[in-house]
């Protein structure tokens, strides 16, 4: 027996002091009220029977005193919180990882898998031993402990109320590392995973997770495997016709049966396309929708069974995307006349192009709020206070220094990943003459001749504005005759105006999102798909948050509000078939054991109950004059 409360010495001292007081009270003769009677022999007749039982009366008084001392002993013992030594030393420390990933929203078990998982954990909490302690953590893209290690059943049950399912995948490795960190140093440690088993490999960038001496248990939740989900969804505008767009999506049947589904594509809430499909078991079906139009902002894909019912996991039956926002770019072209350039600029109807001669440049530059200026074989003395494309720059006004003439330079080195050069094939462009550009520090050489020694295409920033410089006259080359020419021009303008053809149409839930906001903003506000707004921190010009729900978000930073979409798009989460076994490395999780519902090992509770019972008996016997 070990006292987890007050130490034994203090208990003995308390019992001795209070017990002595009780004894003194019993030893002291009870002072009775005095009353006169006219004829005491009549009272003696009544008391005659009692006198015959004087010894019994003394015994009753002794019993009463012993009862009081027993009461005191019970209360003092309760103060000591006595526990069986073996249970205290061998108390378990349990970390329960509740899977709150998207697959736990499956409704194959009523009401859903997460609710069943919470009920399972509730049973475990109620069956904790007196010396056991438990920590409950929510496992999704992050690991969220819901409280400290505790043996308080009611507290643990309250913590469970705060768990909610997310549209994310579970980061099993992160959760296991958290659990092993918590359990480090405890002798009897146990990790209980309550999940459908769709957790993937327990390894991350640091390698596989080692459980150490902690034992692993697994409670399986879920029953069915039938599910069809949208596992890929992407949309982009055409670079040369931004009023049209194309959509790529992928459907996956993770179940064992054929599934007939109906796929709806909604643009700005209106139906754009409707397709009925049949997916074979385990089939991944990519679908490509080219040349779509009719939506300017939002796209949504909805999946439903042909018979009108929903499958077990509705979370992956919808996907959302946002088309890049279109706006007209104002472009000033300073040229003596260039048909090739004019033709290229005509390809984008969202461009407002103004042509001026070099003489009219000074007047024109100050009149409009230009998004870009194209200098065709013209180089002003000063840099314009906007983005600029220099075609064959000359003189001191060029953003880069121009040196020596190059004979038949070719693009020997190309920075293909730069947005300006996307979709461009410049390797075989023939150039008669060109000039070597000398970039400054921070400038990016996008193309260079002489095996990279002579830059002929440079990009960078000057005075906070972007520039691109091409070191040859395009009319001295065959570039205008190629598809690459208009793409180059439009890519440059898109780059200047931050319109990216590779615009990311949606984010993935579970990732840490870093969304660019104005540099002066320190805090932003995001409105989630469920309508709840939450503040998010801004770090180095980016709002940082972890997305847990799929749908459309609104991010407000300062005066600017931007919208973005987020999707689950995870085939592993769509595969909802519960796993019978859970493996971590070579360790197979066992069944949960050692939890016996209804057994509380806090002895002090029972001591108080017995004390209350004795007190009730004492009260009853006293008032019935049995012990007086």
């Amino acid at each position: 027996m070990i006292f987890a409360g007050l130490p034994l010495a203090q208990l003995v001292a308390i019992f001795g002091a209070v017990g002595f007081g009780v004894l003194v009270l019993y030893i002291l003769k009870l002072r009775r009220r005095v009353a006169a009677v006219p004829f005491s022999p009549l009272w003696e007749r009544i008391l005659r029977d009692k006198e015959a039982t004087t010894l019994f009366s003394k015994l009753k008084r002794l019993a009463s005193m012993l009862l009081q001392l027993a009461l005191l002993a019970l209360l003092v013992l309760a103060l000591g919180d006595p526990r069986a030594a073996e249970s205290l030393l061998a108390g378990r420390t349990v970390v329960v990882l509740i899977d709150a990933s998207a697959s736990m929203q499956a409704t194959d078990v009523a009401p859903n898998r997460l609710a069943v998982a919470k009920e399972e954990v509730r049973k475990l909490a109620r069956a904790l031993g007196g010396a056991d302690r438990m920590l409950v953590a929510q496992m999704d893209a992050m690991v969220t402990p819901l409280g400290p290690l505790s043996s308080d059943t009611s507290s643990l049950e309250r913590q469970l109320e705060g768990i909610h399912a997310t549209d994310t995948r579970a980061d099993f490795a992160r959760a296991l590392r958290f659990a092993t960190d918590v359990l480090r140093g405890y002798d009897r440690s146990e990790i209980v995973v309550v999940s459908d088993g769709a957790l993937g490999e327990a390894s991350d960038a640091s390698g596989p997770v080692h459980l150490g001496h902690a034992s692993l248990s697994y409670i399986k939740v879920g029953r069915d495997a039938r599910n069809v989900g949208i596992t890929q969804f992407s949309v982009r505008r055409y670079p040369l016709d931004k009023s049209r767009y194309e959509v790529m999506l992928e459907l996956t049947n993770t179940g064992p049966d054929d599934e007939d589904v109906e796929l709806q594509l909604l643009g700005d809430g209106a139906l754009v396309d409707l397709t009925k499909l049949r997916l074979r078991p385990r089939e991944r079906l990519p679908r490509f929708y080219p040349q779509l139009s009719g939506a300017s902002r939002t796209l949504e894909a909805k999946l439903a069974r042909v018979d009108g019912t929903h499958d077990a996991l509705p979370a992956d039956d919808r996907a959302y995307a946002l088309l890049p926002e279109r706006r007209r770019a104002r472009v000033l072209v300073v040229t003596e006349g260039d048909t090739y350039l004019d033709a290229a600029l005509l390809l984008d109807e969202y461009l407002d192009v103004t042509d001026v001669t070099p003489k009219g440049y000074s007047a024109a530059i100050g009149k409009g709020n230009w998004d870009a200026v194209i200098f065709d074989r013209v180089t002003p003395a000063e840099w314009p206070k906007t983005n600029a494309l220099y075609l064959d720059p000359r003189g001191g006004g060029a953003p880069v220094r121009v040196e020596g003439e190059l004979k038949q330079p070719s693009f020997d080195k190309i920075e293909r990943k730069h947005p300006i050069l996307r979709f461009l094939a410049l390797d075989d462009v023939n150039v008669a003459t060109g000039r070597r550009l000398v970039p400054e520090s921070g400038d990016k050489v996008l193309g260079a001749a002489d095996r990279g020694a002579s830059p002929i295409l440079v990009a960078g920033t000057r005075g906070g504005n972007k520039f691109v410089a091409l070191g040859f006259d395009v009319r001295d080359s065959d570039l205008p005759l190629r598809v690459a020419w208009p793409l180059f021009i439009l890519n440059c303008i898109d780059w200047f105006t931050n319109e990216d053809a590779q615009y990311l149409s949606s984010l993935r839930t579970g990732d840490i999102w870093r969304l660019p906001v104005e540099a002066s903003v320190t805090q932003a506000l995001v409105k989630r798909p469920d309508g709840v707004s939450q503040p998010v921190p801004v770090h180095e010009g980016r709002a940082v948050l972890v997305g847990e729900q799929s749908g459309f978000y609104e991010l407000t930073a300062g005066d600017e509000t931007t919208t973005f979409a987020a999707n689950l798009l995870d085939a592993s989460e769509s595969a909802i078939e519960p796993k019978d076994q859970l493996m971590v490395g070579s360790t197979t999780a066992g069944a949960v054991a050692g939890f016996r519902p209804g057994v509380r090992r806090e002895i002090w509770i029972y001591l108080l109950l017995v004390a209350a019972l004795l007190s009730a008996i004492e009260w009853a016997t006293y008032h019935r004059r049995v012990t007086v």
Binding site: R32, R33, V34, A35, P38, W43, R625, V628
Partner: protein
């Protein structure tokens, strides 16, 4: 109104103090006594109390019997007619006519004055009433106050006009001391050679036994009559809880825890005690009247005493 004590364990000494009640014989009581006298006169009409016949032959006017002449007899009582006819000397005997000695023995022990002294007040009224009846009928009335001895004595007196002497005597009477009827009656018997009616007015709370005092009267040829003054509140004491009870006369202490059950048992024991007294008197042909203080005094005298055969 009951007095609230700061120290409840202290004995209330005043509980045993004799009561002095100057209003004991007020006008109303006087009128009742006058009325009682009339009733008594009607009851006693023809029953010559002051001229009572006795078993002794004497100088009365009522012829009683004849007997043989004995030398020394008064010649005046010889019946000469009989001598002439039968030649026998017979002496005529006449009944002796005497008055009656009535002794009113009033218990003045402390128990009579217990509480609000209802019993003592009631006993004094009864005593006065009986004395008035006796005086009005030319009997010799004497009043004796006793506790464990004879405390005081009003000498034998006659005539209704002496009733105020009775009142004065009773007014000065006070309760005190313990009850010992045997010793008190022995003293009384020794002091009163003339036998007569001995009316014992008491609550009969005698620790040594009420029978012994009555027996002393019986054995000494007195005609005892018991007026048992009963206060019903004695059977229902207003006590509760852990108490140290003490006898107001003897001071004997007893620790007792009074509960409703105990009070029930006490009432039962008290009733048994009263029944025991009544049974004793019936067995020994001692006239017995239980005079409850809750019964109106005039009703007690006019109805209960008459029904009990004491007054006719």
């Amino acid at each position: 109104m009951s007095r609230i004590s700061i120290f409840p364990w202290r004995r209330d000494k005043k509980a045993t103090q004799p009561l002095t009640d100057d209003d004991l014989f007020d006008e109303e009581f006087q009128r009742k006594l006058d009325y009682l006298a009339l009733v008594s006169r009607r009851v006693f009409a023809g029953r010559l109390r002051a001229e009572r016949r006795t078993k002794k032959s004497g100088t009365g006017v009522e012829f009683a019997d004849y007997r043989e002449y004995q030398p020394g007899d008064d010649f005046r009582y010889l019946d000469w007619n009989v001598y002439q006819r039968f030649d026998r000397l017979l002496v005529r005997l006449f009944e002796e006519e005497e008055d009656l000695a009535i002794y009113l023995i009033l218990d003045t022990s402390a128990s009579m004055g217990f509480g609000e002294a209802k019993k003592f007040t009631y006993a004094k009224k009864v005593c006065a009433a009986l004395a008035y009846v006796g005086l009005a009928n030319l009997d010799r009335v004497s009043i004796v106050t006793t506790s464990d001895r004879v405390l005081d004595r009003m000498p034998e007196t006659r005539s209704k006009a002496r009733i105020f002497k009775v009142f004065r005597f009773l007014r000065e009477a006070a309760t005190n001391g313990r009850t010992d009827l045997e010793d008190a009656m022995k003293t009384f018997v020794a002091q009163h050679k003339r036998r007569g009616l001995a009316v014992l007015i008491s609550d009969l709370y005698d620790p040594r036994g009420f029978e012994k005092g009555i027996n002393v009267l019986r054995y000494n040829k007195f005609d005892p009559f018991v007026v048992h003054v009963v206060d019903p509140s004695d059977a229902r004491p207003k006590l509760h809880g852990d108490l140290l009870v003490y006898d107001c006369e003897t001071g004997d202490e007893r620790e007792v825890t009074v509960t409703a059950k105990v009070l029930q048992r006490f009432a039962k024991v008290h009733g048994q005690y009263l029944a025991q007294i009544e049974r004793y008197c019936a067995t020994h042909q001692v006239p017995y009247i239980a005079a409850s203080v809750d019964v109106a005094f005039d009703e007690m005298i006019l109805r209960v005493f008459r029904r009990g055969g004491f007054l006719r």
